[in-house]
């Protein structure tokens, strides 16, 4: 490894003693960004900091140049003696500066600014060579624990020249637990096997270095060769484990798999009879048979629609309750019909008509303006978070305001008739149609922007054509780089406990998937299968990887990214409430729902349910998309222990405990039934003996003993989690 001192010396030479003129946009602005001067927390916030305001992340160079060189009657600069300029005195901490010492006196960065002031604060001429790209080296690093690796960043300009900008670039690790990076671009590898992506940023350009950190003890290739490969997924998972020297966990037991499959695919517990039948089935293909049966059940549609409702469901206080209902029913209907996903998205994006008749049209009632719709559509269906680029260059991506507003232009011709969003309840009908004209302008330049796909060229759209049709066409075409990957990643995350890309809707070069080959293979398979969600789910759930135990092998306890074991998930609010109702044999009653309805069938979140609120149902006041957190909280623990509603279900005369206690079953049979209901497995002999003994205590009745055991089971993690 080269010595850091030598690199530093070289850079000092390349930055400060560059014989070309030092100019604002090319040299000084990147420094302001790198040092965080123009960040939202500092001078980049709307009112600036202590009277000195810069544009956020430098999106407006003219404004910034004025702020530094002209504003405050030039008091920030002192060309006769540059070192005495307020800009440098503050930035170097020589006079009090809330932001601290950002440019130490004598550092190459300090010298650069000094030189710029001395030369008369020139701006970069408009015809000067532009920054074309940056490169980082090395790009692929196989690191060992606690190793340090210096990066080198090179800027490439349009005139073919290059410059070492290692000292001017900013660095970020996507997961510092695996490998951190310091301000000088030196990577510091941690002590966990895994991966990290290190992003170097210079002006608006990015480059990524990937660090792979295997476990130190090599695992023989024959181990991986022997692992089962049920479908294409397994090979990709094992390949990744092999690169990291991780071993896979043992397969989960039959009853664990059975429970996991039910809860993952249809969001409900198997009945005791279903479990018994499965456990005695000797068919070698019984897992595949089970998955096919589950995918064909009606609960499938409600369970997955309930997840999608979080992402799409409008604020009922905003759009009115009838529109909320029609949209919900539309979503459910798509899952019932297993509408191919590309058609599902196409119907949403191009929706027209009445919000009372076409549920999909409600998509355009909640979000109304092109600049509200663009980030929602890009995030949900393309996994691209454009939000930041509405006001400034995205801080960790390539997207800028032109990208944002020209994407928003696809929504510039949505016309609306009827009752809009109005006081006080917005209950009226609204009809969406395509207007003949409409435009979106760049907020800074005022230039009218043509609808433009991400990474694409502006489209010319005929007056009689709906721009949204073109958007849907582009989004769902088979070579769209985003579309299939974001949905397969989302489904994978639901089933496997974590996305290959995490967060699931944030796909970008600087946040790479943990297994790119697997993500690509899933996306390719999905397209080949006609965007069929059920086929995608079947592929994942029938893989050997899905069926691994959650218990670690001797190497993989710390693996939380590579699926070497199954990752546990807490049941979502609705399936958990349904599970409680199923175990207790007492259905929940919901406002505006027929008797016997299940929580996953609820068409709105605007009804009272302390249970669902405690377990993280989205707040109806919030705008979609609502990604849930799977946090556990004290409130949840208290609710399961003591909630009057839950207590009443356990003790109800019409419920399970009364039936079991009043029936002919022996205590041993009652215990077995309760274990099958709540844990979906038989009790062990020891468990059975222990629980049966509770029936024989003095002062205990069959009824109270049954109730107490049911309470105890519901209050354990084995009930609350998918193992």
């Amino acid at each position: 490894m080269r010595s850091l001192g030598l690199i530093f010396f070289t850079l000092l030479a390349s930055v400060a003693a560059a014989d070309r003129p030092v100019t604002f946009e090319r040299d000084v602005q990147p420094l302001l960004t790198r040092s965080g001067c123009n960040a939202g927390a500092c001078h980049g916030k709307a009112r600036g900091q202590n009277g000195f305001a810069l544009s956020l992340l430098g999106f407006d160079p003219t404004f910034d140049h004025n702020a530094i060189a002209k504003e405050a009657r030039g008091r920030r600069l002192f060309p006769a003696d540059p070192a005495n300029s307020l800009l440098l005195l503050k930035a170097s901490g020589s006079v009090a500066h809330g932001g601290g010492n950002k440019l130490p006196v004598g550092s190459p960065q300090y010298e650069l600014v000094k030189k710029w002031i001395a030369s008369g604060t020139p701006r970069t001429p408009a015809d000067a060579p532009k920054l074309a790209k940056i490169t980082v080296s090395p790009t692929e690093i196989v690191g060992t624990f606690k190793q340090q690796v210096p990066l080198r960043v090179t800027a490439h300009y349009t005139d073919g020249t290059t410059e070492d900008v290692t000292k001017l670039a900013a660095y970020q690790s996507n997961d510092a637990g695996y490998a951190a990076v310091d301000t000088d671009g030196v990577i510091r590898v941690g002590t966990i096997a895994g991966e990290a992506a290190i992003t170097a940023r210079f002006v608006e350009q990015f480059a990524v270095a990937n660090v792979l950190i295997p476990l130190p003890t090599k695992v023989d290739a024959s181990y991986y060769a022997k692992l089962p490969r049920i479908n294409f997924i397994d090979g990709h998972v094992w390949d990744k484990l092999q690169r990291l020297n991780l071993t896979a966990s043992e397969p989960a037991g039959e009853s664990t798999f059975h429970r996991r499959a039910y809860l993952s695919v249809i969001g409900r517990l198997p009945t005791p009879d279903e479990t018994r039948a499965y456990l005695v089935d000797t068919d070698a293909k019984k897992r595949a048979k089970l998955i096919d049966a589950l995918l064909a059940r009606p609960e499938y549609a409600d369970f997955w629609a309930n997840k999608w409702a979080d992402l799409l469901r409008p604020n009922p206080y905003h759009v009115g309750i009838k529109a909320t209902f029609t949209f919900d029913q539309w979503i459910r209907d798509q899952f019932r019909k297993n509408t191919p996903y590309d058609q599902f998205v196409r119907k949403l994006i191009t929706a027209q008509g009445s919000t009372w008749k076409n549920g999909a049209a409600v998509f355009y009632r909640n979000r109304r303006e092109p600049d509200e719709l663009a980030p929602m559509v890009s995030r949900l269906f393309l996994g691209v978070r454009l939000d930041c680029a509405k006001c400034h260059q995205h801080p960790s991506e390539k997207w800028g305001q032109t990208d944002f507003y020209s994407f928003a232009a696809f929504f510039s011709r949505i016309g609306r008739k009827g009752v809009g969003i109005s006081a006080p309840i917005s209950g009226g009908e609204e009809v969406m149609f395509v207007k003949d004209a409409g435009s979106v302008k760049h907020p800074l330049t005022g230039q009218e922007l043509m609808p433009t796909p991400l990474l694409g060229s502006p489209l010319t759209i005929a007056g009689d054509k709906d721009p949204r049709e073109m958007l849907a066409e582009w989004a769902t075409t088979k070579d769209n780089p985003f579309f299939a990957r974001v949905i397969v990643n989302r489904v994978w995350a639901e089933l496997m406990g974590r996305g290959l890309v995490d967060p699931v809707d944030d796909l970008r070069d600087t946040n790479p998937p943990t297994n790119p080959a697997l993500l690509d293979a899933l996306a390719a398979d999905f397209r080949t299968n006609g965007h069929d969600l059920k086929k995608l789910i079947r592929a994942i759930v029938t893989s050997h990887a899905f069926a691994l135990s959650s218990q670690p092998s001797d190497t993989n306890a710390a693996d939380t990214r590579n699926y070497s074991r199954h990752y546990r998930q807490r049941l979502r609010a609705e399936p958990l409430l349904d599970a409680v109702s199923d175990v207790t044999g007492v259905a929940e009653k919901f406002d505006a729902m027929p008797e016997g309805s299940r929580a996953v069938e609820a068409w709105t979140v605007r009804f009272d349910s302390k249970f669902l609120d405690s377990f993280g149902r989205p707040d109806p006041n919030q705008d979609p998309p609502c990604e849930r957190t799977s946090d556990t909280t004290v409130v949840q623990a208290l609710h399961l222990m003591n909630a009057p509603g839950l207590a009443a279900k356990i003790t109800s005369d019409k419920g399970r405990t009364a039936k079991l206690a009043d029936g002919k079953k022996t205590p041993t049979e009652i215990v077995e039934e309760l274990y099958l209901l709540a844990y979906n497995r038989r009790p062990t002999a020891e468990e059975s003996e222990l629980c049966v003994s509770k029936f024989e205590k003095t002062g205990v009745t069959r009824r109270t003993a049954t109730e107490d055991l049911m309470w105890a089971l519901i209050n354990t993690p084995e009930f609350v989690f998918i193992d």
Binding site: Y317, C388, A423, S426, A557, G616, D619, A637, K694, P717
Partner: protein, 438 residues
């Protein structure tokens, strides 16, 4: 525990009351800040609908009749400072109160005004009047996030319901208010879920808990790096069990233990008893309690409705302030009363209504402060002669929110991060109302 000994506990102080465990856990988290920040708790009385400033704390006796209204001014203990007619009790305790008459904003409908005052952030997009919206974490959620309650206790209560914009937004469900409905004025009232359900004795609960321990065979992943989510649930169960086992904490939730005289003092009505319950929650270490008190949207029938309502309201709020003071808790407990805006200066009768009222008015509102180190006996700012607009010390909802955060020792300029990593200031302008800071 007999009532008399419980009173002793209360007088000795919070640490003794809760047997040390819960409270010392709270203090251990942030010893330095606890010493410098005056407020350990806030009781926010939310007057939903937008209370009139004229008929509460900013009377305009010199204005023409169509502005002045039907009520007379009431002198406070300070010469020259008047409250409106029915704020008689509070007027007597003016030395403990500060009234800000000059907060204003530009959001004249309920949904938007509520959001602005409840979060310190204006709504990001235009919001309908009936809307319930959330674009930013509420005061209570931020306090809960920054100043956790003692182990096991929810840090943010909302009684008896959630306010429109009182949610956690991007901070997540953990910082949502713990909503406890029910009427503490009715016999048998309990705070949900922290008490055993009806019919379950403590003995039976103990048996159940031990059975739970026996049947809980779920294999834990012992390596911390595994990120086993079960570990968090175990922690939370432990905290919940401690909370339930703690007689003292449980007692704090039992409003029925309060001596009848004290209950009478707060007023035997839902609102009064909710304030009393809030005081008990403060004693248990809960940092933020919102009382969502609806029905202040007096477009019509303003005067008769307030003649009925204000005397009780005035009595309950002054009972809270004086009771906290007598217990030595007022210095560390901030009490605030406000709604989303003030009301129109000119009295009007809406079509179809027979009785006059006032409409929404965001150009001026009055906000009541007491405790938490707030210097009493002062009025901050002023509106003009007819109450149209804040004209002296014009203050914003941002100033209001920053005042509350500063009192807790929370820097309102602090950056919070959304799950997407977007940095967001707690308040965009972190300047508190300096007159209230003491």
């Amino acid at each position: 525990m007999p009532a008399s000994s419980r009173r002793d506990f209360l007088q000795v102080g919070l640490g003794t009351l809760l047997g040390g465990g819960l409270v010392s856990a709270l203090r251990a988290r942030d010893p330095a800040k606890a010493a410098t920040a005056p407020a350990k708790a806030c009781i926010l009385i939310w007057m939903d609908g937008g209370p009139t400033h004229f008929e509460t704390f900013d009377p305009k006796p010199d204005a023409p009749e169509e502005y002045r209204g039907e009520f007379q001014p009431t002198p406070t203990t300070a010469g020259g400072v008047f409250f409106s007619e029915h704020m008689r009790q509070l007027a007597k305790h003016f030395d403990k109160l500060a009234v800000v008459r000059s907060i204003r904003h530009d959001q004249g409908n309920h949904g938007a005004g509520n959001h602005y005052m409840m979060t310190g952030a204006p709504p990001r997009i235009p919001v309908g009047c009936g809307a319930f919206v959330s674009f930013h974490p509420s005061l209570g959620s931020v306090v809960a996030h920054q100043k956790p309650a003692p182990a096991g206790l929810p840090a943010y209560f909302s009684l008896p319901s959630m306010t429109r914009s009182g949610g956690p937004n991007f901070l997540g469900a953990r910082y949502a208010p713990f909503v406890s409905d029910g009427d503490p004025n009715s016999p048998g009232f309990r705070i949900r879920d922290v008490a055993l359900p009806a019919g379950i004795t403590e003995g039976r609960f103990a048996d159940r808990s031990s059975l739970r321990g026996d049947v809980d065979r779920f294999q834990r992943l012992l390596d911390k790096a595994s990120g086993d989510p079960v570990a968090a649930l175990d922690d939370h169960y432990q905290q919940a069990a401690e909370l339930m086992r703690s007689n003292e904490a449980q007692a704090a939730f039992r409003i029925g233990d309060e001596p009848p005289k004290v209950r009478d003092r707060y007023g035997r009505n839902s609102f009064g008893q909710r304030l009393l319950l809030a005081r008990r929650l403060v004693e248990a270490g809960v940092p933020f309690i919102t009382i969502n008190d609806g029905g202040w949207d007096h477009h019509s029938d303003l005067f008769d409705a307030l003649r009925k309502r204000l005397p009780n309201w005035d009595n309950s709020v002054s009972a809270l302030v004086t009771d906290l003071d007598e217990r030595g808790l007022l210095d560390s407990t901030l009490v605030i009363a406000l709604g989303e805006f003030g009301r129109t200066p000119k009295i009007s009768t809406l079509s179809g209504q027979s009785k006059a009222g006032r409409d929404h008015w965001a150009n001026a509102m009055s906000v009541l402060f007491a405790g938490g180190g707030t210097p009493g006996g002062q009025v901050v700012g002023a509106t003009d002669r007819k109450g149209f607009a804040a004209v002296e010390r014009v203050l914003s909802p941002e100033n209001f929110a920053s005042t509350i955060y500063r009192k807790f020792g929370i820097d309102p300029n602090k950056m919070l991060y959304t799950p997407e990593g977007r940095p967001t200031h707690i308040v965009s302008d972190g300047t508190p109302i300096k007159e209230l800071m003491g």
